[in-house]
Each structure stands twice: as C-alpha cells, then as structure tokens.
C-alpha cells in the first residue's frame, strides 16, 4: 500500500487533501452542534435600539416582532417613536443607508408624552388596562383607573379603546431636575453664558 502511494505522488496528494477535508469537516460539524447560537443575535441588537414603547405603530405586535421582521429584511423606517435617531442607529448597525421615516406609520412626537386618565370621568371598564402593553394602568372593574406615570411609555394604545374618551396624552413638564443646557443656536451660536470675556481683555490692553 505504502509503496503504491510512494509510486504515485498524485495519489498521495489526493489522499492528504481528502483526509484534511474529512478532519475539518468533522471539526466544523462538531462546532456547529456544540456552539449553536440560540435564536438570532442580530434580533437582540435591533431590539435594543428600538424604543420599547410597544405601540404597534409599525404594524407588528410589539418591538421584538418588528426587530425580528427587520432581521428578515423589513424596512427600518416604520418606528415613529424611535424617530430619525433610531433609524440612524439601525442603519449604522445593519450597514444600510438611513431612509426618512415612513409617514404612513405616524409622525415622530416633538416631546415624550404620558397617558393621563381624567379620573372623575373614568367608568371603570378596564379596556385601557387590557390595551396597555406594559401593565402601566392600575384599576379593576367598576373601579377608577389610574396611570403609573413612571411605567408609561406613551404608546397611545389606551386612548383608542376608552369608551368615554377620558384619557389624554400629556407632555411631561420640564422641571428643575429634568432641565439641561441646550446646544447653542447652530446659526448664530449665541449663548447667554459668561466665560468669554476675551474681548474685555483686548479692550483693556488697548486702553493701557
């Protein structure tokens, strides 16, 4: 046998290559079983970018289903709460060109809102409780309902089912705690802060 192989170098090369193919094939096969990824990891990454309002404006029942759809090739511009920033982040993640928000699915809100139930008018029908995707409404049948503001994602889903229209979406007012500095105006770049008395120095120099 060995002699035969020694006589035909072609045969030797062939055997070596086939042998290598078999070994690596087995290795890959083992790795595929041993290190099998549960689910699609890209879905999790997409889901992390989506705003988790669970509003369903994209046409899917929640953020995760939409993330799964995106992973399967759905357009990335169907999430109004995520807005342009969300589309940009998705485009960066998926290495795509950012596209403008699809107006069909709604417009980006200027500021975050939360649901507010006018409690005097609530009849206790529990319809909003069933509609809330994050269990942010508290109440029971024939009892007054109320929204837990810290849990509300502002998805609007409770507004539609209310038979007496007692739910408003209100903007959270800016408080001392939520206030923060704004970027200077991009055109004039004027701000009312101090720090720039450089001109005063040159004026003094001239005077001196």
């Amino acid at each position: 046998m060995l002699e035969l192989i020694a006589q035909y170098p072609l045969l030797a090369a062939l055997l070596v290559l086939v042998g290598m193919g078999a070994v690596f094939g087995a290795l890959l096969g083992f790795a595929a079983v041993r290190f099998k990824a549960e689910g699609n990891p890209i879905v999790d990454q997409i889901n992390d970018i989506l705003p988790q309002t669970q509003c369903g404006q994209c046409g899917y029942p929640g953020c995760r289903p939409y993330a799964e759809a995106i992973a399967n090739g759905e357009a990335i511009n169907k999430c109004p709460p995520g807005g342009e920033a969300g589309i940009q982040a998705l485009a960066d993640l998926l290495d795509m060109e950012p596209i403008p928000l699809d107006e069909e699915h709604g417009e980006e809100k200027a500021a975050a809102t939360v649901a507010f139930i006018r409690e005097a008018e609530c009849i206790g029908c529990t319809k909003c409780i069933q509609a809330c995707p994050v269990d942010a409404i508290l109440g029971a049948a024939k009892q007054m309902h109320t929204v837990i503001i810290s849990e509300c994602t502002g998805c609007d889903l409770c507004v539609e089912p209310c038979p007496v229209d007692c739910i408003d979406m209100i903007q959270e007012e800016e408080s001392l705690q939520s206030w923060h500095w704004q970027l200077p105006d991009p055109v004039t770049r004027q701000v009312g802060i101090i720090a720039t008395d450089a001109v005063a120095v040159s004026a003094q120099d001239e005077a001196a």
């Binding site: 989506l50 988790q52 953020c63 003094q204």
Partner: protein, 581 residues
C-alpha cells in the same frame, strides 16, 4: 521646600480681585425676608420640618436631610415661617424650586447650642454627625455634602488632605479675605479634618497672588503639622483635579474620584464651617460672598445670611442699576446669569458679579473654527476641544465619550482663548446633558421591555391554563356521554325520562321537608330576638324615666311597637305548630 508640579494648559485672565479687597468683611445684616431653597447642594432636596406660622430661632433646623446624600437647612435668623412654596432661585434654567420663606423678627435670637469643649475627645462618628447636622455642603461652588465626602470606608487610606485656598477665578475674593481675617479658624478646622480622616500629610494650597492670606495662614499655622504651599497663579488651578496634580504630581484617573488616589480636597470656606459646627455648635447659616463689578459703588466682601435676596445685598454695596446689564452668580468663567436680582444667596454663592457692559461685554458673534488648536493648548484636562466641538455639532455622542467628554471640568478656558469666539463650553455642557438623558432613556426602555415581556408571558400562561380547563371539560363531557351510551344502551328512553322525573320529585319533597324544619326554626328565632329587643327597650325606657329624660315618649312608642311585634311572632309560631302537630 516642596516640589510644585504643573498641569497642562491653563490661562491667565485679568484677575480683577483688588476692587473687592479694599475693605474688611462687612456684615450684611438681617434682611426683612429670607428665602431658603431646599436644594442648595448635590443630592436629594431637604425635607421641611416646620409648618407655615411656626416661629423659629436662629440656628434651628427647618428642613431635615432626605437620605444619605443630602443636608439639613437651618434658620439663619429668628422669625416666623411665612410660606413654604415654589420660588425663583439662582439657577440658569429660571425654574421655580421649593423654598422656605422666613420673615425675620430682627431679634436674631439664637437657639440653645453648644460645641465640643475639646474636639480631640470626640470620635469619628460623633465628628461626622456634628458636620452632617450642621448642614455643611462644599462651599467652593459645587455644593457636595461635606459629611458624605468625609464618610470613608474603614479600610480607606488617605495619603493627602488638601485644603483648597486657590480661588483662581477672576473677581472672586471670598476665600482670600477669609484667609486674611480668619486664618486661625481655617487652621483649627483643618486640624479637625485631619483628626477625622488621619491623612499622612495635610496641605493648604494657595496661589501666589494672595500674599496677605498666605502670611496670615503661615502665622496661624506656627507649630502645626501641616504645610502651606504657595504656587504660581494660573486659571484653573483651583479645580480639584488640577490642584491635586499641582501639589502631588498625581492625576486623578479618568472617570475616577480623588479618593481613588488617596486624596481628599476641602475648600477653606468649608473648613471654617466645620470649625464653627464642631467647636461652637453653630450650623451653616451664613457665608462670605464677594459683591463686585462696576455695577456696585463699593465692591466688597459680606458675611451674609443664607437666603438673603441678592437685591438686598446689592443695595448694601451701592447698586448702580444703570451701570449693570446682567447679574452673575459665581465668577466670569464658570458663573451663570441669574434670572432676576430677587433670588436668594445659597450655600454655594461665593460671588455676586454685577459687571457693566464695557467690563464684561456680550460675546461677539461666533466665527467658523479655524483649527488653530489654541483650545487644546489651554485645556487643563488635556482634551481636544476642537475635535469635540465637531462631534458635538454632529451629535456624535459615542465619539464624544471616546474623547473623554466627561473629564471636561467646564472651566471655560477653551472658550476664553478661542479667536473665533465659539462658546465651546456650552457645546460640552449640552452634550453631557444629552448623553446623560439618552442613558436615562435607555434604562427606561429596558425597563419597559422587561415589563412587556412579563406581560406577554402572563398572557401566554393564562391562555394555556384556559385551554387546559377547556380540554378537561370536553373530556369529562365525552366520558359522561360514553358511560351513558354503555350503561343504558338498551334502556327505553321514555322509561329513563320517567325515572329522572321521579328522582326530581323525590328531591323536591326532601327539600320541602327540610324547608318545614327551617320554617319552625325561623319562627322560634324571631320570637327570641324580638323578646330580647323588647327587654332592652324596656330597660332603656326605665332608665330614661329614672333620669327624667325627654325621650320617654319616643321610647314608650318603641316598646309598644316591639311588644306588638313579639305578640305577632308568638302567634305565628303557635299557628305553625298547631298546623304541623
């Protein structure tokens, strides 16, 4: 002689400190009304412990700390609480904040208080408690609760305690005059702090533009185990991280605290407050504030009660409103414009600057960045301001963080040197806020996801349970049908129906029998309860008669009615028994 290290960058703006140093510290007196904001420090706002209408004495606690990182507030003078409401405070946002308003009675009457005769006898916990109860928050400007800074874990080794007497910002002289006039108290306060945290060395760092303050400190520190270090003037040497580098040559790691390299910094003002709290038992109710600028006739330093309206203080210094365009709390580099002069002085107000338009003109329009790199040369934190400026404009927050935006101390040196007058610091302040906001939003969306998933799980579980119940019912029905089919396969359906009817009738009769017994019981019960009621009613009637009450007539009717009822019940029972006997 100690080796002095330098730090990167820095600038030399005109100092403008002489104006306010011509006279000694003046007492600002008692204003008619004091407004004390509940949040003058970093951390949770204090919780009021007084109510509107209460009268308070000087030094009495009017709001307690709400949590560990919080400080209490005290009444700066005696008087009455006239309101606890939202008022305008010294904050760049112009928002309202909760304040306690005191109308002073002019008597300035102290609450009973006593200090420790000898602080060397006190243990650490006691010292920290005294500092905490005195409501001391860092008086250099940031307002971090001093007691929290001093509460170290038992195994923490502190190599250096630094007392910050640098005061590098132009115009401000509050610390300088404090060192000149109260050097002894600073030294005593420093001793208390060193006893508390037991550092290997204690340093007091002072810039060389304060020779009189230095001399006073040196005289007071004769024979003490602490060193007073003089170093060249440069802005911003007074920044905590910069001062540490100047004195020790060590850099605080990015994103870290001075504590990470075994250093603790305290402002000289806080030191005096610690001395007052421990030795005299006096809480922090007043501070030294510089009032300066061409908008006041006599620029000087005042000892002013916390909560004094700025307008009151300006009047004391000879305010010239026509010579002043805007009012700044803090210095010209890091201060901010206050909405009106009616806002109160707080624990962190080291300076009130009323400049004229020529003194501190409005910034000229910003030009394009010419990439000169002067900002990078001036940056004391060794950052790349022009690079970060581009990222901030493009809102590339990830890149900003990679360029260590959060190491920016917002000193304003970059804006000051910028030949294009770009308000660079503002870009960093706003970007920091946006990044913090987006972190917060991310946290919130993660929370929403958890709740959404929990709800989905619950709905699924409920569906499965419902499905299982339905299946069980279906199975039971099938089994019944099967049993019926097997057991009575040849039985005549009519016969079965008759059987069912018979069984039903029997059951009804049994029920009726039970009903009869029930009926009798019911009647008996009615008799006993009515009799009881009659007894109590009669007793009451007797009582009323004995007392001569005017209710007798009403009670009499009640008793009669009950008696009639009793008779009726007894008759019903009797009839029933006759019938069923």
């Amino acid at each position: 002689m100690r080796k002095i290290f330098g730090f990167h960058g820095g600038i030399h703006p005109p100092e403008n400190k002489q104006q306010s140093l011509r006279t000694p510290i003046a007492d600002a007196g008692i204003p008619p009304q004091l407004v004390i904001p509940l949040s003058q420090h970093i951390g949770a706002p204090a919780r009021p412990v007084v109510a509107v209408g209460d009268s308070v004495l000087k030094g009495q606690m009017i709001a307690g700390p709400a949590g560990f990182v919080s400080v209490p507030m005290h009444a700066p003078t005696s008087g009455n609480i006239v309101a606890i409401e939202d008022r305008l405070i010294a904050h760049p946002s112009g928002h309202l904040a909760r304040c306690i308003v005191i109308a002073s009675d002019g008597r300035d009457e102290w609450i009973e208080h006593s200090g420790a005769a000898d602080y060397r006898d006190l243990d650490k916990a006691d010292l920290i408690n005294r500092i905490r109860n005195a409501g001391i928050a860092g008086m250099g400007g940031a307002g971090f609760p001093t007691a929290v800074k001093l509460s170290l874990k038992p195994d923490t080794r502190i190599t250096t305690l630094i007392i910050n007497g640098t005061e590098c910002e132009p115009y401000i002289t509050a610390d300088d005059i404090l060192m000149r006039e109260r050097a002894q108290q600073i030294i005593e306060g420093t001793k208390i702090l060193s006893q508390l945290i037991a550092p290997e060395e204690t340093l007091i760092g002072v810039e060389d533009n304060k020779p009189q303050g230095l001399a006073a400190l040196r005289a007071a520190a004769q024979g003490c185990a602490l060193e007073i270090v003089e170093f060249p003037t440069k802005y911003p040497s007074g920044g905590e991280k910069q001062l540490i580098e100047i004195l020790t040559g060590k850099q605080v790691p990015s994103g870290g605290l001075p504590l990470d390299i075994g250093v603790i910094c305290q402002n000289v003002g806080s030191t005096v407050a610690v001395y007052d709290a421990v030795v005299h038992g006096r809480p922090l109710i007043s501070r030294i504030t510089t009032v300066t600028g061409e908008g006041v006739a006599q620029p000087q330093n005042f000892e002013v009660m916390i909560g004094t309206p700025m307008s009151y203080l300006l009047e004391k210094a000879g305010y010239r409103p026509d010579n002043n365009k805007r009012l700044i709390m803090g210095g010209p580099m890091m201060g901010f414009t206050v909405p009106t002069a009616d806002v109160p002085i707080v624990k962190t107000t080291n300076c009130l600057l009323a400049p004229s338009e020529t003194e501190l003109p409005s910034p000229p329009p910003a030009q394009a960045c010419i990439r000169c790199g002067m900002c990078a040369l001036a940056c004391p934190a060794s950052l790349l301001p022009q690079q970060m400026f581009w990222f901030a404009q493009g809102k590339e927050f990830e890149k900003l963080e990679q360029h260590n935006l959060f190491d920016c101390i917002e000193c304003g040196a970059c804006s000051w040197v910028c030949p294009s007058n770009i308000p660079l610091v503002q870009y960093y302040r706003a970007s920091k806020a946006e990044i913090l906001q987006s972190r917060h939003d991310n946290e919130k969306s993660g929370h929403a996801r958890v709740r959404f998933e929990a709800r989905q799980e619950r709905l699924e579980r409920e569906d499965i349970e419902k499905e299982a119940k339905r299946a069980a019912r279906k199975k039971a029905a099938e089994e019944r049908a099967l049993a019926a089919a097997q057991g009575g396969g040849e039985e005549d359906p009519i016969q079965a129906a008759i059987e069912r009817a018979k069984a039903k009738k029997a059951a009804q009769q049994a029920d009726a029998g039970a009903g009869e017994e029930n009926e009798q019981e019911k009647l008996e019960k009615a008799v006993t309860t009515t009799r009881k009621r009659l007894d109590t009613a009669s007793a009451k009637l007797e009582q009323a008669r004995a007392d001569g009450s005017d209710l007798v007539a009403a009670l009499q009717t009640g008793v009669d009615k009950t008696r009639t009822k009793l008779e009726a019940a007894e008759k019903a029972l009797h009839d029933y028994q006759q019938e069923h006997a």
